[in-house]
């Protein structure tokens, strides 16, 4: 008969533990390690998106701007925080009328603070006008940036 009560009891205990854990206040987004030193997944979030036309060796922009020339390579630098072995970042580039310019994705093994760059170029020159790049994290839009080619 205990078998019939096991489910609700376990559920109640889990619920109580969940309440206790979520009530502990501020969540630490940094990497968490167990006593054995193994990394534990923590939620990955996009902390910043910047645009520019040149990149340093550390993947960070050396020439940040939202105004580009037709011959420029356009970089979108995405900063993330959190730890997860399977994180999908995507960049959707669109022209002013909503026309798709490019879609690219990168599956990363996020570990703490990471920087991921997406870049696009067009050998024949970018049409002048307004553009948007939308960043998606695991399929969900998280941030977008507008820029202009003059």
């Amino acid at each position: 008969m205990l078998r019939y009560f096991r489910g609700p009891i376990v559920g109640t205990v889990c619920f109580a533990l969940t309440l206790t854990a979520s009530g502990c206040g501020k969540k630490d987004k940094a990497s968490v390690e167990t006593a054995s030193g193994a990394a534990v997944s923590t939620p990955v979030s996009v902390t910043d998106v910047k645009l520019g036309r040149a990149l340093g060796a550390d993947k960070r922009l050396t020439d940040e701007t939202d105004k580009f020339r037709p011959a420029d390579v356009i970089y979108a630098v995405v900063e993330t925080q959190g730890t997860a072995p399977n994180t999908l970042l995507q960049a959707h580039w669109t022209y002013q009328d909503g026309q798709l310019v490019d879609e690219s994705s990168r599956n990363i093994s996020a570990a703490g603070e990471d920087v991921t760059e997406f870049h696009v170029s067009k050998p024949s020159g970018w049409p002048k006008g307004k553009y948007t790049v939308q960043i998606l994290l695991n399929g969900a839009p998280v941030e977008s940036k507008d820029f202009e080619v003059k």
Binding site: D58, K59, T80, P85, N86, T87, L88, L89, Q90, A91, W93, Y95, D97, Q99, L100, V101, D102, E103, S104, S105, R106, N107, I108, S109, A110, A111, D114, V115, T116, E117, F118, H119, V120, S121, K122, P123, S124, P127, G129, L136, G139
Partner: protein, 89 residues
């Protein structure tokens, strides 16, 4: 459409249909994050299904194929239990 429109074209229609040509756009990405992943094939998988799930784009199946040429002879034939390397998306 009137005779004049046929002869000289209808500018308003042209404007509506005009789209920029982005066919020669090149793109890429890189990251400070590590990328060292494998995937174990399960029944019902295909390279395009795996590419769709892992990269969000089924057309990137050939990247997985190229990264596993030593294991895959025919891209239409992968076996459950095969461990594939997943290249950068």
């Amino acid at each position: 459409m009137g005779v004049l429109d046929k002869l000289f074209g209808n500018d308003s229609d042209k404007d509506k249909k005009a789209t920029a040509d982005f066919s020669d756009v090149r793109s890429g990405s890189s990251s400070t994050a590590a990328f060292n992943r494998t995937y174990t094939v399960v029944a019902g998988d295909s390279l395009s299904k795996i590419a769709k799930r892992e990269y969000g784009d089924a057309s990137k199946w050939h990247r997985i194929f190229e990264a596993n040429r030593d294991k895959i002879q025919n891209p239409d034939l992968i076996q459950p239990g095969q461990v594939l390397n997943l290249p950068q998306g």
